[in-house]
């Protein structure tokens, strides 16, 4: 049963002549007005959840966003059935959101600066991270690496998608592997945590930004309510695990209201610039995150590791283009054109086992 996707999310088409009740202050808000305030309540500042596409429209300069990999399609690799088959849930989510899965990524300009951005969409199965979402985040990161442009990820997610089983769990390692390479290459990574950011999304790329920014009152936590309530019967105080809680506990840098988010990111990116010396290719190997780290670790371990310590300058196949990009699946997947080298390409086309 091939599914035809509508051009645009039905959900986003809030009838402009209708009202929405604010869960924060119970005011009735005219949708047209709410859209003008970026879907933030003008009375109590309640931040309504917004779709991935609306998020990108709000952050990226008009007319500059080019989406990549919109054609990635999730697969029901386990034949998973709970109260409904996963395949049916996917179809329903695709029809209601106009997306193939719970994230959009692409390249665009933020205040004139070229960035790689990935935004999650909570309305697609709770923004849960399965293989496609993990892949998009990884590719957004790899594009940032290849082009040496900042990475911005906007999280809005209930965590790993249970219907894809341990493949979903492995997305934590997939995305963290890429984030580690971004950090080694001194590419700035801004993580935006919006309501909600929970579970495996919080416990992977979302929590490790160079700067972590949360939207006001966003729910951010690792253990879910229903899960922890079933495991231990703790009473949770009001405000628990909200954005402000995370600033006071030291895991979020700033809380930024939606209207100021774009400008704050632009300001931060103006600071997070790698020193030119880090980018100049050192004579013998050419810069790449791997050979850079390799040299560093080689120097630290010396001869102590036997055969394992001998490879500081080896870096077989290391990229020599001086831009810090990764060879293999790094750049090929990053462009979305999948030229087919590297193991990531094995996933192209037919569904394949990890």
């Amino acid at each position: 049963m091939p599914v035809r996707l509508p051009f645009r999310p039905r959900r986003d088409a809030y009838p402009p002549d209708l009202w929405t009740k604010c869960p924060g202050c119970s005011e009735m808000l005219f949708n047209k007005q709410l859209d003008k305030t970026m879907r933030v309540c003008p009375h109590c500042s309640h931040h309504f959840r917004i779709s991935a596409r609306t998020r990108i429209e709000q952050l990226i300069d008009a007319g500059t966003f080019v989406e990549r990999d919109a054609d990635l399609q999730p697969v029901d690799s386990l034949g998973f059935v709970d109260s409904k088959p996963y395949a049916d849930r996917l179809v329903a989510a695709q029809l209601s959101t106009g997306l193939r899965d719970a994230a959009i990524w692409g390249i665009g300009q933020l205040d004139g600066r070229r960035v790689s951005i990935c935004a999650m969409d909570f309305w697609f199965m709770g923004g849960s991270m399965g293989s496609v979402v993990g892949e998009k985040i990884a590719r957004a990161g790899e594009a940032a690496l290849a082009e040496r442009i900042p990475l911005i990820i906007v999280s809005s997610s209930g965590g790993a998608r249970m219907q894809e089983g341990t493949y979903s769990l492995m997305q934590l390692a997939k995305t963290m592997g890429v984030v580690e390479r971004i950090k080694a290459a001194r590419i700035p990574y801004i993580s935006i945590l919006t309501d909600p950011t929970t579970g495996g999304t919080f416990a992977s790329f979302a929590v490790v930004g160079d700067v972590n920014i949360a939207e006001p009152n966003a729910l951010i936590r690792f253990a879910g309510d229903r899960v922890s309530a079933g495991t231990i019967g703790e009473e949770l105080p009001p405000g628990y695990a909200r954005a402000e809680f995370w600033v006071s506990h030291g895991f979020v840098d700033r809380i930024v209201p939606r209207a100021k988010l774009r400008d704050e990111i632009a300001t931060l990116l103006s600071f997070l610039v790698a020193p030119a010396t880090a980018l100049e290719p050192p004579p013998p190997t050419g810069f790449s995150p791997r050979s850079f780290l390799s040299a560093l670790t080689g120097a630290l371990t010396g001869e102590g590791s036997g055969s394992m310590g001998q490879t500081a300058n080896g870096a077989p196949g290391a990229s020599t283009n001086g831009n810090g990009s990764l060879n293999g699946n790094g750049t090929s997947n990053g462009t979305g054109e999948s030229s087919g080298d590297g193991s990531g390409a094995a996933n192209q086309g037919e569904a394949s086992r990890g």
Partner: protein, 328 residues
Amino acid sequence: MVDRLLGRAHPEPSQPASPTAAVWAHVQQARNLKRPHTLELLKFMAEEFVELHGDRVFGDDSAIVAGLAKISGRRIAVIGFQKGQDTEENIRRNFGLPHPEGYRKANRIMDLAERFGMPVLTFVDVQGAFPGAAAEERGIAEAIATSIGIMTRLRTPIVVVITGEGGSGGALGLAVGDCVLALENSIYAVISPEGCATILWRSAEQSQQAAVAMKVTAGEQHELGIVDEVIPEPGAGAHTDTAETARRIRDAVNARLDVLTKLSLDELVEARFNRYRAYGPYTVADRPAAPAERPGLGDKLRGLLPGRPSVPQMLGTRRNGQPGRGEE
């Protein structure tokens, strides 16, 4: 079919009545309190073991143990989850549910291993990280994410052995490696069957179905490519013969390390990165869902304007694959 997936010879004549019951029996076996955990296994596997304590930040987590071992003459940094085998020890070990300090201690030992050229061996047996406020507010999410990240790039071989329950991010925080081995009666899942049932079925009573649906058994995880090798358990299960279980694990780990230590560190880390980079099947649709992405979009005010068509235009987006059971 299920028996083959479970890959185990039941010693008892009474076979479980249904495939679901068989999977659930497997889950119970994985959770058997008498199963050997990290310290019990090390007693038989290691000639020497020096436990190290503390994360140098906040405290020492009793649910994760770490230290330096000599196994078959090889120096190895060993890190593992530690449940108790009786109630008293279980209370002391927080029922094997770790706080952030456990992962931070583990990362400290991994750093030692990298700098002093020791492979890392981890034993995974955890239902999940401690789900209470103390773990949350000290950053269990950050501790797990950081540990996963470190393990994706650590410049020394890492062998992971799932000995009991591999549950959720709490398990993966110590389970990123070059090889992932699993004891026959162990399980591995994105969330505990109870947690899955609570969320998807809104009732923990459906845990058995959740365990079946998630394909949690070691054999199934091997078929999915998550686990590289299933280590057979002796007799009626690991709990009946710790010495033999430890010997089998030791042999499997040694065989893996013999190969891994011959690779250059660059090859090793690249291969490990690629392993995790490749996980997760998907297909590529014939055409993007929304090509020529709304050219007028950027010119409009941000947000949603009334000018949108109320009837969505339909694209002929046929896909290569059904979203259905492409694998089976």
